[in-house]
Amino acid sequence: MKEVLGLYNYWIVIGLMMIGFYTMISRGNLVKKLVGLSIFQTSVMILYISMGKILGGTAPIIIEGRENVVYTNPIPSVLILTAIVVGVATLAVGLALVVRIKEAYGTIEEDEIHEQDDVM
């Protein structure tokens, strides 16, 4: 039972990752692709944070005057903290590109953009 529970986190995270991936590669709408990308990204972050967790531990903020406190691993937190902010910055660049594509092509559906390109 413990074994299955131990891997449950990872399996759901993989599920989320694949949903994000599928949204990215199967949907033609560019905004939806970007939302799919951010779901993919977030699932990678959850994977990292899950690996840093220690059951029975506490958040990595030192408690004064207490011995033998188990702290959760701080390194994944640090890595993911910066990744989230970079994630929103790249999302902004992606959305800006979508806005420009809409202005140039009049649509944000992938297949319609391809059609217009083929005609030209």
């Binding site: 131990g6 399996w11 030192i62």
Partner: protein, 201 residues
């Protein structure tokens, strides 16, 4: 107890992600992705990553949603129905997911203190951070001090992203005046200027 909450939150996340995939009204997609971020923040709190939870709640549920909504105001909110069920993406996704699940079978169990990830660098930070930097929050001390180079590079990344966004959408005819009038010689400015007289006649 915490395991139950953990499982429930992950299940909610899966449902929300699925709804994002199925939903074709992009406004609903934007709101669902906000909900998704908020659930993530709750999950991070359960997993003891409070700093990350804080950031996710502020960035993911706040700023990202506003940005997506701002984009939808410019590009419209209806996504087209996919023309035909595409089997290739599904196939690719199933294979990738299957391989990754196979990979997890060798992973150490969740939350075990003996896992390899907790053996090497982290104990050093936890032990010495307080005396070396006088900052109780280990995440802050690692972020700003031990790994200051990373954070500097990352600050540069978001600055560069801003430059990219400004170059893409803050210039040209479609943008309302972002700069003050004297810095930009846009159309309005040129029209109102008087024609230059040729001195020699």
């Amino acid at each position: 107890m915490s395991v139950v909450v953990d499982i429930a939150l992950l299940a909610f996340l899966a449902v929300t992600a699925f709804a994002v995939m199925k939903q074709r009204n992009l406004f609903a997609v934007a709101m669902l992705s906000g909900i998704y971020s908020l659930l993530c923040a709750a999950l991070y709190t359960m997993l003891d990553a409070v700093d990350v939870a804080f950031t996710e709640a502020a960035v993911g549920a706040g700023i990202s949603t506003v940005l997506v909504l701002g984009t939808l105001a410019l590009v419209g909110h209806k996504a087209k129905k996919p023309a035909r069920p595409r089997l290739l993406p599904l196939f690719v996704v199933l294979i990738t997911g299957g391989v990754m699940v196979y990979g997890t079978l060798d992973m150490p169990p969740f939350g075990n203190a003996d896992n390899p990830a907790h053996q090497h660098v982290a104990p050093r930070y936890i032990e010495k951070s307080e005396e070396e930097t006088d900052v109780p929050n280990i995440v802050t001390s690692v972020l700003a001090s031990y790994r200051g180079y990373d954070t500097m590079g990352e600050t540069n990344v978001i600055f560069t992203a801003l430059v990219g966004v400004l170059l893409l959408i803050a210039t040209g005819e479609q943008s309302r005046r972002i700069w003050s009038a004297d810095e930009r010689n846009g159309g309005v400015f040129e029209e109102s200027s008087e024609p230059v007289e040729d001195g020699h006649g």
